[in-house]
Every structure is written in C-alpha cells, then in structure tokens.
C-alpha cells in the first residue's frame, strides 16, 4: 500500500521540557482510515496540527505524499484538508457561497472550483438550505457542510479532528458512512477522537496516544486479540496501565 503519510518521531514542546507530543511515529496508506485515540490532553490535536502545518514541530518530521511538513509546508497543504474540532463557518455566508469560497482556495481553475462545489453540495445533502445563511444552520448541518468542504477536493489526506463530536446519532452515522465510502474510493483519513466506539466502527487502524506518547498502533481487531479484550475501550485501559501512564 502506498504511504500517504509518514510521521517520524514528531515532537512538540510548548514549555522547556514539557512535551505535548513526544517522538510520535506512524504512517497511513492510501485509502486507509487511521485514528488517533486518547483522552483530553493526550496530544492528539497537537500532533494533528503539526501534520496540518498549523504548528511547527520541535523535533522530527512528517511526510505527506512525500512532502515534508517542515521543509515544504505549502506542498503539504495542497495535499491535505483539515477539519478542526468544533469548527464553525462564516455565519454571514450562505452554505453555497462558503463552499465556493473554500473551493476557490483549493481549485486550480474555475471549472475545478465548480466541480468541487457540485461535489460538496451533493455530499452535504443540505438541498435548498445551502442557499440559506450558515448562521441559521443547526450544529449537525454545519458539521456536514464542513465535512463536505473537507473532502470536496479529494485530498490525498483528510485530517478530521473529532468529526462527529456533539452530533446526534443519525448525523454521526451519516458522517461515518461518508468517511468509509470516500476511503473506499482511495482517500486517506487521519481521525482524532476520544469516542472509542466510533473509532472501532470506522477505522482500519488505530494509534493509542496518552500524555504525548503514542503507545500502541494496530488494527482494531489485532489490538483486541493482543490484549484479549472485547472492545477498544478495554484495549486503551490495558495499554495505559501497562505503560503506567495514569
């Protein structure tokens, strides 16, 4: 499987000696859904933000489609999209004008921009509400709009931080299905979540992160077998206790 993301001993130190994430290494293949799981403050968002070129790394590197986040951040950004946790959108814009604006940043020409908007409009399934101002949208509608924006350019890697947080069951299920179907088409996903059940359902492989350390990487089933437990939450508990993190 061709590697879309290679993370090599990536570290971020905010204060002298205090690491938010330390020597984190993993990779993601094409069409793979990889999830970083861990509690609040584990270092998921910091790791994701470094890969998304929002934060600089203190040590290590990550390659997205072969481009270094440290040396070629502009090239990296051409190959990724990022959906932050609990992100909003420009409330005074309509859903459609937001998609047009964002498509304009990713597309190389007008035709491609149009294609991206059409694709996103279809994915969002918001119908005529796309012509309404985002300020009038529900949380679920905004999340759908943002997710459709994140996948409209079919990036090599879509980075989604807590993609379904705060959503109702129906909306969350729809989004999980959307992610799975796009992965089947060849898009790669890096997800972050502390919802283990969601991750168990949607991801191909998971990385367990706690206190800035990536403690375990493997398939959901592989990890369950390794620790002889029935679900991912129990895997997490075992991994954390084994490493004497908490």
């Amino acid at each position: 499987m061709e590697k879309v993301l290679e993370v090599k001993e990536l570290s971020k130190m905010y204060k002298k000696g205090v690491y938010a994430s330390e020597k984190v290494s993993f990779d993601i293949g094409q069409g793979e859904i990889f999830a970083l799981i861990g509690p609040n403050g584990a270092g998921k968002t910091t790791t994701i933000r470094m890969i998304a070129t929002l934060l600089s790394s203190t040590e290590g590197d990550a390659l997205v489609s072969g481009y270094s986040i440290n040396k070629e951040p502009a090239k990296v950004r051409e190959n990724i999209t990022y959906l932050p946790d609990e992100a909003g959108a420009y409330k005074q814009m309509t859903g459609k004008s937001y998609l047009e604006f964002m498509a304009g940043l990713y597309a190389k020409n007008k035709n491609e921009q149009k294609l991206f908007v059409e694709r996103a409009s279809e994915t969002a399934e918001l119908g005529d509400r796309l012509n309404d101002k985002i300020g009038s949208y529900s949380r679920g509608m905004i999340r759908k709009l943002l997710l459709s924006r994140a996948v409209m350019s079919r990036p090599a890697l879509a980075i989604l931080d807590e993609p379904t947080s705060g959503l109702d069951i129906i909306n969350a299920l729809e989004i999980r299905r959307m992610i799975k179907s796009l992965a089947a088409e060849g898009m790669s996903f890096l997800l972050s979540s502390h919802n283990m059940l969601e991750i168990e359902y949607v991801s191909d492989r998971v990385g367990i992160i706690a206190k800035g350390h990536l403690l375990e990487v493997g398939t959901v089933q592989g990890l369950k077998d390794k620790y002889a437990v029935s679900n991912l939450e129990e895997v997490f508990e075992r991994v954390v206790k084994q490493n004497e993190i908490y």
Binding site: S21, T45, L55, R77, G88, A89
Partner: protein
C-alpha cells in the same frame, strides 16, 4: 431574596476585571489630561495676562495710557488705582512694518502698536488707530487666548475718561469719546498675514479643527474593532485553522484582512468626510462669507486638495498602525468577551491626543508631557490638519516618518504572530492567574494538546 440573587449574579457578570481595568484606566487618562490642561491653562492665562506694547508715539499721554494698563489693584470706593505691576506690560521696539520678521525676531505672539501721532490725533479730537497684531500657531481653543482685546478696551476707556474730563459731558461728546480709538487688526500665520483679528480666524477654523479629530477617533475605533472582531471570531470559530491549512500562504490571509479592513476604513473616512462636510456647511451657513474664505486662503488656512492628501496619508498610516496592532490584539482573544475588551488599549491611546488636540496646542505642552503625547502615533494624525494649516511642516513630516517606522515595527510584529505558532498558542485571560493558583493548567498545556 430571589431578586437579590439575580442582582448579585448580574453584577458579577458585568463587573469583570476588564471592566474594572477600563474604569481605572479611563480615570487615569482623564487625570493625565486634566493635569496637562491644568499646567497649560495656568501658563496660558499667565501669558495672556501679559500685554506686549510697541509705543511708536512715545509721548507723556501714551506713557500714561500704558501705565494705566499696569494697574493691578483698584480702590473699590474711589475707583482709583492702588497698585501697579510693571510686569503686566512688556514694551518692545518694532521699527519696521515687516511684522512677520519682527515677530520672529522678538519671539512674541501678539502686540499692540501705538502709531506715531496717536496722541496728537486724540488731542485734536480726531480718530486715532491702534494696530492689534496676533500670530496664530494653532487652531486649538486655548492657544488663541490673548489680552490684546482687553488692552484695547482699557486704552479706549482711559481715553474716554480723559476726553470727558477735558471737554465736559454731553451725550454727543460721549459718543465721540467712545469712537475716538479705532483698531486695525492683523493676524500672522506662519509667513503670511491678513487684516483680520485672530479671534475671527479662530472662530472660522474652529469647525475644521473640531471635525478632523472626531473623524480620526471614530475611524480608529471602527477599524480596530472591526479587525479585532474579525480575527478573534476566526480564531474562536477555528475558521482561521481551516484557512491556514488550505493551500494559501498566511501572508496572503494577513494581507487580505488588512487590505479589506483598510478599504472599509477608507470608505468610512470618505463617508464621514462628506457627511461632516455637509453637516458643518449647514451649521456654519451665514457664519462664513466669500470674504472670510478669501482671508483664510490669504493666511494659508484653507486646505487645498494637496493638503487634504497630506492629511489623508497620515490618516491612512494611523489606521494601518491601528489595524496591525489590532491584528495582534485580536489573536489574543480567547472568547468574545475578551475580544470586546481588547479595543481598550487603542481607545485610551486615541483618547489622549483626541481631547488634547481639540483644546490645547500640543506644541506648547511641557517637554516631558509633549514627548509622551507625541510618542502616541495617533497624535500626529490628530494634529495633521493644524500642522499643515499653521505651516508646522517639520512636525508634520517628523510625525509621518515616526508613524512609518512604527508601522513597520507593528507590521513585523503582526507578521511574526501570524506566521508562527503564536497565532494559535497566545491568549490573554485575566482570570488565568487565579486559575493557575488553584492548580489549573495553562493554555499551552490544556487547550492546545487534546
């Protein structure tokens, strides 16, 4: 009981650290302005109570008139002078009629000239003329206080008294006595002069001098609030993260924001200028005439298109400085409430020169206060109109260069914040210290590392 609970809660909600800081700083700003005023008013009144006289006639009669101007105490019962204070009148020699040069040589701002033959004309019962000359260096209200009018009044009164004593009293003669002294007013502005009183000029330019500070202040606050709100909203809503992870440079995002805010501010400036111009025209209809326009032009107090362009350049520089500072301030906001209070530093910095420039001539402030006020970059825009009108071009260009240097520094700071991790990691939260004491983690440890 329930109401008290509600009231306490509302009070706690409203009385935040930011509100308290705002109250205290406002008070301190007003105290600072008050102290500056106190000193300058004292100096102005002291300076204004001193009269400068040039006695070209130099007769016992004019000497007696000048002596009458030095009376510092009068007997309430008899009306006769009790004390004289010679320091109230400064006698100068002005040999030529080149008043611009003579004023520069003597370094004076006003003088009353008693022309040769003045006493003879009075003695003959003919009309005699005094020349009242003032030099204006600013349009600010307090800078144009002068005792010349009072001196002219005193001279008139003294002559009237002596005329009445000499000629006996009749109604007709009283009228003659009152109209014996005429005054020829002259005002000098930079290297130009016109036959008009400084009071007239001050009233003609007062609207103009009031108008620019209002426009500058409103625009400063408007553009700062706009950019702080734009940046903080993007940061809080995380749309900034979305933008920065897109294939677009951070500099492009920064420039687009600055330019858009500057365009809106410029549009606002134009709208305000047009609106205020019409408002002022409406308010001053009947107060000005073609003649007064010609006098203002003669004195160089009529702003030309080029002058407006110079004012515009400084206005634009001020707005750009405010915008670049606001970009950094906006990035500090942790929530909407914090964002609201972040306009405070700009508001206070703008408030000082705004109030001062309308009332006093900043050039005349004591050195330390003056340099503090000049260190505020907005001051130079508040005084731009005055500096251009009164020919203080060194001050204008000095201010402009200072603003340019400061703009480069502020922009560098804004670029540094925008192109590094700081845009996501730095926040201002007055309650954080308290939280830390209780053992809460700092931003870098909690919010950023999920």
């Amino acid at each position: 009981m329930k109401f008290t609970n509600l009231f306490k809660k509302e009070l706690k909600e409203l009385l935040t650290v930011q509100v308290l800081v705002s109250m205290i700083v406002t008070m301190l700003v007003l105290i600072f302005v008050g102290n500056s005023f106190g000193g300058i008013i004292e100096d102005t009144v002291e300076e204004a109570s001193e009269m400068t006289i040039c006695d070209r006639d130099n007769t016992p009669f004019t000497q007696q008139l000048i002596k009458a101007l030095t009376v510092s105490e009068i007997d309430e019962n008899t009306g006769l002078p009790l004390k004289y204070d010679d320091s109230l009148v400064t006698l100068v020699d002005i040999p030529t009629d080149n008043y611009i040069e003579e004023f520069k040589r003597l370094d004076i701002n006003s003088v009353i000239i008693i022309p040769k033959g003045f006493s003879d004309k009075i003695a003959a019962g003919e009309k005699a003329e005094l020349i009242n000359i003032s030099r204006m260096t600013s349009g600010a209200t307090l800078s144009n206080i002068s005792m010349n009018d009072a001196a002219v009044g005193s001279i008139r009164e003294a002559i009237k008294q002596s005329y009445i004593v000499e000629h006996g009293i009749s109604l007709e003669e009283l009228g003659t006595a009152e109209s014996l002294v005429t005054v020829q007013d002259k005002t000098i502005v930079a290297d130009r002069s016109a036959d008009v009183s400084s009071a007239t000029i001050a009233s003609l330019t007062s609207m103009q001098n009031m108008f620019l500070p209002i426009v500058v202040y409103i625009l400063l606050m408007f553009s700062s609030q706009m950019i702080i709100s734009a940046i903080s909203t993007e940061k809080i809503d995380k749309t900034l993260e979305t933008l920065f992870s897109a294939p677009v440079s951070r500099m492009s995002v920064l420039c687009a924001k600055m330019l858009a805010a500057a365009v809106i501010a410029a549009l606002n400036a134009v709208a305000y200028m047009i609106g205020f111009n019409y408002m002022m025209k409406g308010m001053t209809t009947g107060m000005t005439s073609e003649g007064s326009d010609a006098i203002l032009q003669q004195l160089g107090l009529h702003l030309s298109v080029g002058d407006y362009a110079l004012v515009g350049i400084q206005l634009f520089l001020t707005i750009l400085i405010a915008l670049s500072v606001s970009l950094v301030l906006g990035a500090l906001a942790k929530d909407a409430k914090a964002a609201q209070s972040l306009t405070m530093p700009i508001m206070f910095l703008a408030m000082i020169p705004y109030i001062l420039s309308m009332i006093i001539d900043i050039k005349s402030l004591p050195a330390v206060v003056r340099y503090i006020v000049y260190a505020i970059p907005f001051t130079h825009t508040f005084t731009a109109c005055d500096n251009i009108m009164f020919g203080n071009m060194k001050l204008y260009f000095g201010g402009m260069i200072y603003q340019m240097v400061l703009l480069v520094i502020c922009l560098t700071l804004a670029v540094k914040v925008f192109t590094t991790d700081r845009i996501f990691t730095m926040t201002i939260d007055p309650s954080r210290k308290r939280k830390n004491k209780k053992g809460f983690k700092s931003d870098a440890q909690d919010g950023q590392t999920d």
